[in-house]
Symmetry: C2
Subunit: 350 residues, 2 copies
Amino acid sequence: MDFGLNFFPVITPERKSAAQYYQETIRLAVLAESLGFAHVQTVEHYGSPYGGYCPDPVALLAAVAARTSTIRLTTGAVIASFNHPLKTAARLAMLDNLSDGRLDAGFGRGFLPDEFAWFQVPMAQSRARFAEMLDACVALWSGQDVTWTGEFYRFGPVTLLPRPVQRPHPPVYVASATSAESCAAAGKAGHHLQVVPSVASREQLREMLAAYREAWASSGRPDRPRIQIKYTCYLSEDRAEALAAAELFERNYIAHMAGAVAGWAGARSDQYPGYEQFVDKVRRYDFDAALAATKVLAGTPAEVRDQLAAVAGWYGDDLTVSVQISPGHMPYEQSERALRLFADRVMAEV
Amino acid sequence: MDFGLNFFPVITPERKSAAQYYQETIRLAVLAESLGFAHVQTVEHYGSPYGGYCPDPVALLAAVAARTSTIRLTTGAVIASFNHPLKTAARLAMLDNLSDGRLDAGFGRGFLPDEFAWFQVPMAQSRARFAEMLDACVALWSGQDVTWTGEFYRFGPVTLLPRPVQRPHPPVYVASATSAESCAAAGKAGHHLQVVPSVASREQLREMLAAYREAWASSGRPDRPRIQIKYTCYLSEDRAEALAAAELFERNYIAHMAGAVAGWAGARSDQYPGYEQFVDKVRRYDFDAALAATKVLAGTPAEVRDQLAAVAGWYGDDLTVSVQISPGHMPYEQSERALRLFADRVMAEV
């Protein structure tokens, strides 16, 4: 197991300004590099406190790149449905150059009906757009004089600039929520994987990972797949303090998620089976049950080490665990304390 | 007059890698801040050595933001035709927060037929898209629960995140090439202006600026308009060295511009009157004539001071001159030397 640091801002301007949030994020990223974390990652969301402080992971990671020198930079994820592949490939190649080859390029389909409505993209196109985005980016990064004739985009011949540093192209990660089929497709294509245990059942996630690993193995690739698994972590020497923070910020997360997924009320999409239950799931959210099911990591260092051992048992010990340690509007000092404690007493001992 | 530093990369990977170019750009930007330059700016272009190292000014300026603290950051320019206003407003607001309120948001229409073709946007829409982009960004930055119903985009109600630091919104600059009408519209709307003397005749530019200043004055605004004027500058204590660099890098610029504007051969657009002559103009390029007409600044500090005095005479002494001091694949040490010389012997004495 190794570890990265995840930033998924769930914040309103009344709680913390974006300027302060970015400054703290960069400071934590610099510290994470010095503490031996493998990556920093962040998200793409729009127009709501649920992730809306980061509509562009490339911009925030470009700032992090300028202040770090070894830690990897992961988009977690760029949303294929809302971006043009020529622009996306070019911007990610900029980040690969700004960081001298430290980019992990994560892509997702997006899942919020409001965002699809604002960008006037039908959710029914999300799988096809995702597939086209990945293929086009790999083609643009790897090839010269690329002519693209896809379902959604036609361009070229064009030689992408800048050329990415990593050859033949930066590692591609596929963000998958619940679909074993998508995971198998990613494994077959030789893409790496990003998963989020809080949105899938333990059984679902085990099936997804099994399908992914099997597809990768069948493809006969000599190298090993990389799997990033994302957890929010509430850590303190004082168990009660850790659990109080967990309850406060998990409820904050769920409250803002409720607003962001409200568009699923009465909606249904065959490309998002089960998502119509999102509104209900959020309404029925049970903090104690989430804790008991290890949907978050929380407690003392010894407890979190035990939880990570359980995670390794369920999902494998070859994972990169991407921990969110500064959720919501948590004060900076509290985040830094938890980050240092995680490095000293969790990371160093698992 | 005050001064900014402009980065318009005209480079191939064979001459200098993008990783090296960005590293040098950031280093020069940090130095420019310490030397008292007012801004750093860069461009948006795709898929050719003519600007293609910077497909996203926001990403490069985000990295500069992380290493500077007072210098302003100017997009010169974001291309309205190729970007969604919700995404653009959000990304520029990120940059405004990453820099704690140092963004100057410059917008252009774009003018390269290849780029329009790749993004499948008709050039005939460029003025309408430009107007819609500016109005939508200002609305999103300034308002809450914005519902947008434009010719090209419909979205909302949405409250943009992050909120920009500068209130009611970051300064808007309109990049105008040759149209006095566009300049008048910008002045009337209270937008600032970016102009490029190398693409307009002296008489054209004087008419543009007169139309702009008159429209601004007629609008009754109490504050003054800001005008950025862009020059490439070749400076050395040794006149022959300055002119040799000018000839080398201006010819490099024109050679790559020829490739980028090739799409204008046989093309014609009523939204770009006269642009069909681009191919011919580039073919007939005459270095000595360009020098004699002060299309670039070149020579010893005393000569460049005289050239700037002439510029002030033609166009006004209230300009911000945005100088490109590191053109093409110029070696870093040569750029740094010229930058320091400009600060010491030109900026300090005009």
